[in-house]
Symmetry: C2
Subunit: 378 residues, 2 copies
């Protein structure tokens, strides 16, 4: 017998309520029955996005929603600022360039957060910047961006603030309206505790004006079509019916727990994880701006990082993530996001201790778990 634990930054584990909803007989999408589902989902998403604006549901992964942001806001030849502090920041740049948009890259060292002053400077020096593309939680490094501060400096400029909140939404605080985020993009398989296959995108009134003006070619992700349909509680193309139905289950769970409690739970799990790593004398990869979504940890010198992740997963059933691109083998990442609570974290740390011990790493057995328990007892 082996139980499986999933502590990866997407997909995250599915609550039983979601699994059950996924297995229901399917209903047709052009019916009053599905309209009621869609209405409930649209309203629930506004709660989680903390916005009064429309949130569109796309049948795509998060990257599809990112593409929708780029092509609906900007046209070839437009200038954008992309904040690039890891793999997912790079995706904004790649997307802009695929559509002929002049992406001015603000390169940030992996593991560091962007300096808001730097963004301000770039905006002042280049008034042609029409959009700033940021990442709430850079999953590849575990760093969290100060979106509130970015919103403050961008809101009175002509530019719009676009936030990739794929990792983080529904796990850490993101006040789309209060923080002047114009477009917030997310996906289903992270804080929303669903399988991948849904993309989400909210659009502020300021951003809507750009959508009307964009000349970028688009069809499947055309938010003009999506808006027309949404106004009739419909979607322009066949929605991913099953996932939308399951979304209402996870939205219900988030509402019942209350967003602030959800954020607190994530904060505690992250603190416990960081504290455990310190007790095991493991260094955080991003100590200056660690997110409460995922913790990236440096692999100690004598340990094979890829083997560590593999052994935890294939021998003991605990799946965490390894490093991506330049961090391959150098870090491992423990996600504490979604349908995860303290004893999942304890199990994960215990498994990490076991594998480190077997690999000959010197530390006091149980020290990581104890440190986490101390945080959870507070």
């Amino acid at each position: 017998m082996r139980k499986n634990y999933l502590l990866t930054p997407g997909p995250t584990p599915l609550p039983p309520e979601v699994c059950q909803a996924l297995s229901r007989p399917i209903i047709h999408h052009r019916t009053p029955q599905f309209q009621a589902v869609l209405k409930e989902a649209n309203e629930g998403l506004k709660y989680v996005f903390q916005t009064a604006s429309d949130v569109f549901i796309l049948a795509s992964s998060g990257t599809g929603a990112m593409e929708a942001a780029v092509t609906n806001l900007l046209s070839a030849g437009d200038t954008a600022l992309t904040i690039q502090a890891g793999k997912f920041g790079e995706r904004w740049t790649e997307l802009c360039r695929a559509y002929g948009i002049d992406a001015q890259v603000l390169d940030v060292e992996w593991g560091k957060a962007v300096s808001v002053r730097e963004v301000e400077k770039k905006l002042k020096n280049n008034p042609r910047i029409k959009a700033v593309f940021a990442t709430l939680c850079e999953t590849s490094t575990g760093v969290v961006t100060d979106i509130e501060a970015l919103g403050r400096i961008i809101k009175d400029t002509a530019a719009v603030l676009v936030v990739d909140a794929i990792s983080g939404l529904g796990a850490i605080n993101l006040e789309s309206d209060a923080w002047s985020c114009d477009v917030v993009v997310s996906g289903s398989q992270k804080g929303l505790m669903l399988p991948p296959g849904l993309g989400f995108i909210s659009v502020s009134p300021k951003a809507f004006r750009l959508i009307g003006a964009s000349r970028s070619p688009r069809y499947y992700f055309d938010l003009r079509l999506a808006k027309k349909a949404l106004d009739k509680t419909d979607t322009p193309f066949t929605p991913a019916i099953t996932l939308v139905i399951a979304l209402n289950e996870s939205l219900k769970m988030l509402k019942e727990e209350g967003l602030q409690n959800v954020f607190l739970r994530h904060k505690k799990m992250a603190e416990a994880t960081r504290s455990a790593m310190a007790a095991l004398r493991l260094k955080l990869f991003a100590p200056s701006a660690p997110s409460d979504v995922v913790t990236a940890v440096c692999v100690p010198g004598a340990i094979d990082g890829e083997k560590l992740v593999k052994t935890m997963r294939d021998t003991y059933g605990v799946t965490i993530a390894g490093g991506q691109e330049e961090l391959k083998g150098k870090v491992f990442r423990i996600a504490h996001m979604g349908y995860i609570e303290e004893f999942d974290i304890i199990a994960c740390i215990s498994c990490l201790e076991k594998v480190l011990h077997e690999a000959g790493y010197k530390f006091e057995l149980g020290a990581g778990v104890r440190a986490a328990e101390e945080v959870f007892l507070k």
Copy 2:
């Protein structure tokens, strides 16, 4: 108590095996476990597409796969021929035009099939046509296109044949390779008996050459990225994990029944439906080229077509489809596709008889069901 019957041309009912697969705990997609799933799915799709070429799995609805076909094959300024015999043929034209492609429209009267001679003439008169966009089964009218004949006249030209087989694949015969189809597009919620949320696209060697040359901007649907990933049994972006796992269940069912038997089952159900309509003195909307996928039936003069569909669904639990766009209220459509067998058809016809009777339509009660039974007994 009320049981629900779903006889719509997408979504189609889910087999219990698929429902159960959908409710399994999720696994991470960058693991050997999911790689095995993806490999099995890719191979199974080749069987259903009847092709030796790659079939790509996209996290999108079928329209996303249609967009992938357009943007990966053609660039702004290129010329295409779109066969437009209903709502879904129109989608090809809209997609081409959204990307600046000169779509030469071959307009066909709704309810009729395209004349292959007409296509041949268009191709001869305009050697700049780089792609012909066709629809296997035009769901809005119930008409089937003779793809084999189209392939025969296109294969020796420079143009590629692109087939929207969203409705029809896995239900009626489509020999992608033998019929010289260069690109075949499909979706999950039709013959493949899954919820919506997956798009599929196969690409012949002839079509692959166009993909390298296309200058259309694209990212999420960029098949160059998809090909690079597929060669490592991977996907460029997070796949819709749950749906891919469930896909292997429906592929297994299709293999066990055998494609030829699957086609035969659909053919019989379609014949039974058409025979029942004749017995009820109801006219087919497309008698000259009716598909074995969906049957469009003219609403008799004295009957309110929209109310008929609504009563069947909301009072009796039998969901069929109404007419779309210019056919709204004028036809109803009974799909006999996917996880459907003879007694579903019998139930549907019986319900139709009941509602027609209640609406005061004159006919011999039971005549439709008897006519269907006679076909099934053959």
